[in-house]
């Protein structure tokens, strides 16, 4: 049962990823990413990380993707021309992508981490629960927690600055 769920979710994730990079219309790419994110949430559940899965759906697929949808609606987005200005890019890119995948896979599979071949140790019941994560966030990882909230604040301010209605001067392309 677990294997079936894994493969379904994996195919969903992979399909979504390929959809992101292959679709001409950016809106369709956003939709593909949403599918991908849901599949990842399913995978997280399979790894008994309930809180992360929930956060993935609520935060990522729920909030971040909504942002994307808004911007794509505002900006629009046509296709891209077929001509490639950079010589060799069309040839080298897939090559490098495949090389990257093979190297990462080989690095992981041939490592001496024997535990990779198992399903993982037996975990207590509350593993991956919000309570467990919360406890970790507030006890052991308090500083990263607070720092990341600060970072969120900065990002919000930055967004406001970037999108403010400043007067656009003629020819001011390098402000």
């Amino acid at each position: 049962m677990e294997e079936v769920l894994f493969f379904v979710a994996a195919i969903g994730a992979l399909g979504g990823a390929i959809g992101v990079i292959a679709m001409r219309n950016p809106f369709y790419s956003v939709l593909a990413l949403i599918v991908h994110l849901f599949s990842l949430a399913a995978l997280f559940l399979l790894l008994t990380s309930a809180f992360v899965a929930a956060a993935q759906v609520v935060v990522y697929a729920g909030a971040v993707m909504v942002l994307y949808v808004f911007v794509v609606a505002y900006v629009g987005g046509g296709g891209e021309s077929a001509w490639e200005p950079i010589p060799g890019q069309r040839f080298l890119a897939p090559l490098l992508g495949i090389a990257l995948f093979i190297e990462l896979a080989v690095a992981v599979l041939s490592s001496s981490l024997l535990a990779l071949g198992t399903d993982g140790p037996d975990v207590p019941a509350g593993f991956g629960d919000p309570a467990a994560i919360g406890r970790l966030l507030l006890e052991k990882f308090l500083v990263p927690f607070e720092t990341s909230s600060l970072l969120l604040l900065l990002a919000a301010v930055g967004a406001i600055v970037l999108a403010s209605n400043r007067r656009i001067e003629e020819g001011d392309t390098s402000s």
């Binding site: 950079i86 890119a93 490098l96 090389a99 990257l100 190297e103 990462l104």
Partner: protein
């Protein structure tokens, strides 16, 4: 105050004068600059007199002091101090130099009045006097070289004073280059001295030299020969003399000061100062004596046929310095220095009078055009005759006593040195002839146009200024030479200066009448204490015999000149026609310039051309430009990576990461 303190003041005043005039040339009015310059040297002379008095108050044996301001270089066995050495010889030179310089400054005060470069002139002149005083007061070979080089520079600056004249600048460069050759000799000699004796200081060197060197050892001979190179370049002896006639491009006071009384005597001073070394190398001393003799005769022949007034007097200087060099080389130290003193007087006087005459001629220096100034310019003529009498060694004049003292010494030394006496008298005959040739040609006879104008209107000739050598018109908008010409009769400072020198030229000999008094010899004796050569003294009888022969020769020479130029004026033309090859040789200055040009200048220019065209262009430029081109090319290649495409940057990033991962995977397997 001690003698050394006065000596430091002697150095200070001219330096201050030069700096003040040089820096304040915009603020100071012309007359003030001239006054400051003259007073500065006058103060130096006064301090020199004070130093003399201070020295005289001491025991003759103890009249040598060294004093240093600070250590100049004290490293690795070198111990060079900024030190002076005060003894009768240096005080004597200080008095001669500063005394004659004061008078020349006074003369320039009037003579250079309408020159735009008045301030520059006095600043340079003061600097020159400072350098010369530094040279004679220096207490070690390093400071001597410093003064030597400064004097060379000052001479260059003053010769090419009217720097818009191409002939003047070329002459200045020629003088400087030949002086540098002499500097090389001096510096190499100093190096050798240090290597052999371990010190540059006079006291140490002269004390240790007799102990370290044996007579005629090759090192001491080499040192002396190198010193001679320096002396000959500075004193315009054969073969390094070609700069002196060209140096007449400078204003007349410059010729009077530098090329008569002071700079050219530096060589004589050098040999006298290092007499200890020369006595240890008799071969070198003999070389010097023969060169002096040769210069004496050759220069006298050249002066016989010169038609340029100042150049004729310049050759006469060369000839007389030949006497002095000869004198101090064979051992007649005091006699040589005495002749230096009297020569300073009468030669400076001759140049001053010549300057006055040239001014009356509107800067034309050709004696073929001059005549009859005796009536037009009485004072100038009088002083000119005084100088000529002293030069010709007329009985009773200063030159009479000084020149013949050298020749008497040579006879007393005997052996080979009698040649010097005989040929020296021959030179004296020639000297008398050419000096009175000048007198009769310029002063006697029917007044030329300029002279007539002067007699009739009292007005000095005035025409558009031309370069006297090439006849090209000159540009006096830059002010020089001045638009006005100043003659002695119309300028009080010039008259005072010339008058004092005329007095000295006639009467200065009275301090060294043999058998009666020998002021100079007695004063200078402690300097040569312990020298076997200085101990040779001709007897009073021999002295008077020499004086007698000298007087006869002088009168004979004057008589010959009278015959040639007054009584039978057609004779010189006939003689010239008969002895044409000889005359051409003399008139072309024995072809020394051409010889040096062929042997030295052309190869040097050839090397320079090769270096510029081939070596510089191919090798040096090639390497430099080649490196630059390589770097630029490499930069161009690297620049192509910065294409601006974000995706190509991403490609490179991922490619780099993939490569790195590959490397780590492979190395850990």
């Amino acid at each position: 105050m001690s003698a050394t303190a006065w000596a430091w003041l002697v150095l200070l005043f001219p330096l201050l004068g030069s700096i003040v005039i040089g820096l304040g040339f915009k603020a100071l009015p012309a007359k003030a600059a001239g006054a400051i310059g003259t007073i500065a040297i006058g103060l130096a002379f006064a301090c020199g007199v004070a130093a003399l008095i201070s020295l005289l108050g001491e025991d003759p044996e103890a009249r040598h002091h060294a004093s240093s301001l600070w250590d100049y270089a004290s490293v690795a066995g070198l111990d060079i101090k900024l030190g002076i050495f005060v003894d009768p010889l240096s005080v004597f030179m200080v008095l001669v130099v500063s005394g004659v310089s004061t008078l020349i400054h006074l003369y320039s005060y009037g003579y250079m009045q309408s020159d735009e470069g008045y301030h520059r002139f006095f600043s340079y002149l003061n600097f020159f006097v400072f350098s010369m005083l530094l040279l004679v007061l220096a207490g070690n070979f390093v400071l001597l070289t410093v003064g030597w080089a400064f004097v060379g520079f000052a001479s260059y600056a003053l010769i090419s004073f009217w720097y818009r004249r191409e002939t003047a600048t070329r002459a200045g460069m020629k003088a400087f280059v030949i002086n540098v050759v002499g500097d090389i000799g001096l510096v190499l000699a100093a190096f050798l001295i240090f290597r052999e004796l371990g010190s540059f200081d006079y006291g140490t060197v002269f004390e240790k030299a007799p102990q370290v060197f044996t007579t005629n050892e090759w090192t001491v001979t080499a040192i002396c020969l190198l010193l001679l190179v320096g002396a000959f370049a500075k004193s315009a002896q054969l073969p390094l003399h070609t700069w002196l006639p060209d140096a007449m491009e400078g204003p007349t006071p410059v010729s009077s000061l530098i090329h008569a009384a002071t700079m050219v005597t530096a060589g004589v001073y050098l040999i006298a100062r290092t007499h200890v070394l020369f006595e240890l190398a008799p071969t070198a001393a003999d070389v010097a004596a023969f060169v002096g003799l040769a210069t004496l005769l050759v220069a006298a022949t050249m002066a016989l046929v010169m038609t340029d007034l100042k150049r004729a007097i310049a050759y006469s200087t060369m000839s007389q310095i030949g006497y002095m060099i000869m004198g101090v080389s064979i051992g007649a130290y005091s006699a040589g220095m005495f002749h230096l003193m009297t020569h300073a007087f009468f030669k400076a006087l001759l140049f001053m009078a010549a300057g006055s005459i040239i001014a009356a001629m509107a800067n034309d220096q050709n004696i073929d055009r001059m005549s009859g100034f005796g009536r037009a310019m009485r004072f100038t003529s009088f002083t000119f005759v005084c100088g000529a009498l002293a030069l010709a060694a007329f009985p009773g004049s200063s030159g009479f006593f000084s020149k013949d003292e050298i020749l008497a010494y040579a006879a007393a030394r005997g052996g080979m040195y009698v040649i010097f006496t005989v040929l020296g008298y021959a030179g004296a005959l020639l000297t008398a002839v050419y000096s009175f040739r000048l007198v009769f040609r310029v002063l006697h006879g029917e007044p030329c146009d300029e002279a007539r104008e002067l007699i009739e209107t009292g007005h000095v000739a005035h025409e558009a200024p031309k370069n006297p050598a090439t006849g090209e018109p000159e540009d006096t908008d830059v002010g020089f030479p001045g638009s006005e010409h100043h003659i002695a009769e119309q300028s009080a400072p010039m008259r005072v200066a010339m008058g004092v020198l005329a007095f000295g030229a006639i009467f200065a000999g009275l301090v060294q009448i043999p058998g009666v008094d020998d002021v100079v010899t007695k004063f200078l004796d402690p300097v040569w204490a312990g020298s076997p050569l200085a101990a040779i003294e001709p007897s009073t009888l021999a002295d008077w015999e020499g004086l007698g022969i000298g007087g006869v020769i002088a009168l004979l020479g004057i008589g010959i000149a009278y015959v040639l130029y007054v009584a039978r004026p057609e004779l010189p033309g006939q003689l010239e026609a008969r002895l044409r090859p000889l005359h051409t040789l003399f008139a072309n200055k024995w072809y020394f310039d051409e010889a040096i040009g062929f042997l030295v200048v052309r190869p040097a220019l050839g090397i320079g051309r090769f270096a510029n065209r081939t070596f510089e262009r191919l090798v040096v430029d090639g390497i430099v430009t080649g490196t630059a081109e390589t770097v630029r090319g490499a930069g161009g290649v690297v620049r192509a990576v910065q294409s601006g495409f974000v995706r190509s940057y991403a490609l490179l990033l991922i490619a780099g990461f993939a490569g790195l991962a590959l490397y780590f995977l492979l190395s850990s397997s």
